[in-house]
Symmetry: C2
Subunit: 301 residues, 2 copies
DNA sequence: GCGAATAGATGAGTTGAATTCATGTGAGGA
DNA sequence: TCCTCACATGAATTCAACTCATCTATTCGC
């Protein structure tokens, strides 16, 4: 069988063939010329083919030896190159996470360092875009999507996020300014900030507060939540956003929830991975970390 | 350095990666699972990169391990294929000899078995054609050429053959038939066979025998000596050929030299090899054998 | 839930494949 | 002619790689 190949012997032969000398090969391999001689004799005896001509005080490859050497030299070079590369790698796994821009900016970015610290062997890469990615085709391991669950392609495992709470948010200056906000109707005095892709908007909020009449035409409109949040931080109005995305702003006091932290409930985000890779340690670790981190956040919020 | 790679360890890793199991890899390598575990741990420690995830009761490649495994698997497959091929090779050297068709047919063919018998490790291949071959470009080791020495390309070593003797030859039936041939003038009664590429022809012979008038227009014409010889054997006339090419026919009595074995002297054949390969054992052996064989032949002729 | 079974990890002890050492051979150069 | 160099070869030695014994963690069957 092929596993009867002595790689030691092949290695010795490769060096000797390349250097056309047993002595130089021995030097390269940090052994004595005798060892090289033994190994090559062993190879020749095993296959019954002479690989070197021993002439005067040198060795010359036979045709069989030359063609064999050409083949294995290339293979050895490849192994050595791969091994050299391996030495340069410091992380054993690469975790590529794709998500919507808002989730990436508002939730993942502030927290991902914590994941990396707990998983030093995982090299995390974050991508963000509006479009869902093809997990089968691409190098992306995890896709965090927002919106109604479409028909899932076979082979994709989808885990829904915990229900989010959507509340009006604004800068503290706005909430405590000339027109302080204490009750829903106080919003009449302020500009509304609309997030167009959000599953729930001011229209849904008004269904819960039928006594308050707000002009839905008013205000800024953004197609990304993180822009609405940024506008709210800048005091441009009141946005209606998920607490999931504004933890950082609430913690640092850049935003406040003038009407409290209770509000509309919605389930929008999903965690998507290939079924076949769902059990990989890097995926499990990320999944478990993400959901436990989110639970912690929720309990605080 | 790269030679600090333990190929044993890489081999163990390759098998384990391919089989996704230390136990199966151990079985394949005829060792215990413990040995595989040790080797892979050694590799991981040496490069500081985890190659496998140890989960529940199985092992799964890390990303680093997978990319490494892909590289080395290909290299290992190549080594094993080359080694398998090596096992099928029985001769360590291939000697490719090209010559003119006549020398191949008349001299080499009958004798080459003797060379092979004395050099069982050399696989001899004979090619014959009128054209000189490009020793630099092609797989041909030796080219035996006929004719005036052209300007030699650099890097070609040319050895001239011993001087040949050219004499009239015919079948015994013709020599002892109705018009027996004992003296040059007896040839008048017979058809002459002409070899067009020969360096000497009947015209040259007549210069040596000015008293004999022969009609040079008569007779068969061939562009290869072996055809002329074959025609003479068939009793179609008298050819003028080198003793070098008719040893076999003289020995078996199919041809006779009615006017004796002395005649025109000519030096036509050359032995051509690459200077760079002239000292290869297979070339030296062939060269030495060929010239010693020719000397033996000459001393007999 | 509990124990049995499985797959691998680990450290100590053992072994034999590979190495060194001592010596031999033969060709080439001083 | 002798010396030197490069490799060959057989016996002795060694240490890298293996086995063994034991341990851990997880799964599976009951």
């Amino acid at each position: 069988m092929s596993n009867r190949v002595s790689f030691k012997a092949v290695q010795a032969f490769e060096a000797a063939a390349r250097l056309s000398s047993f002595a130089l090969a021995a030097e390269e391999l940090f052994v004595t010329p005798s060892a090289v001689s033994h190994q090559i004799k062993f190879l020749e005896d095993q296959f019954g083919v002479q690989l070197f001509h021993r002439i005067h005080r040198a060795v010359v490859l036979t045709d069989a030896g030359r063609s064999y050497a050409e083949e294995i030299s290339a293979a050895f070079a490849r192994i050595e190159a791969a091994t050299r590369d391996l030495g340069r790698v410091t992380k054993s796994d690469i975790l590529t996470v794709h998500s919507t821009p808002s989730f990436a900016t508002q939730w993942l970015m502030p927290r991902i360092a914590r994941f990396s610290a707990r998983n030093p062997d995982i090299d995390v890469r974050l991508n963000a875009s509006k479009e869902a990615v093809d997990l089968v085709a691409g190098p992306v391991d995890v896709d965090i999507r927002y919106g109604p669950k479409n028909i899932q392609p076979a082979g994709i495992k989808t885990v829904v996020f915990p229900t989010e709470t959507i509340v009006p948010l604004c800068s503290p200056a706005l909430a405590n300014g000339d027109h302080p906000i204490h009750f829903p109707e106080d919003l009449r005095h302020h500009a509304l900030i609309h997030s167009e892709v959000c599953l729930v908007g001011w229209r849904d909020w008004m269904r819960k507060h039928r006594d308050v009449q707000l002009d839905l035409q008013r205000g800024l409109r953004f197609d990304r939540s993180f822009m609405s949040i940024s506008a709210a931080v800048d005091g441009l109005g009141v946005c209606l956003e998920s607490l999931l995305l504004v933890q950082r702003e609430l913690d640092t006091g850049r935003l406040v929830a003038p009407l409290g932290l209770d509000g509309l409930k919605v389930q929008g985000y999903t965690f998507n991975v290939l079924k076949s890779s769902a059990d990989l340690p890097k995926i499990r670790n990320f999944h478990d970390w993400l959901f436990s981190e989110m639970m912690g956040t929720d309990s605080r919020g």
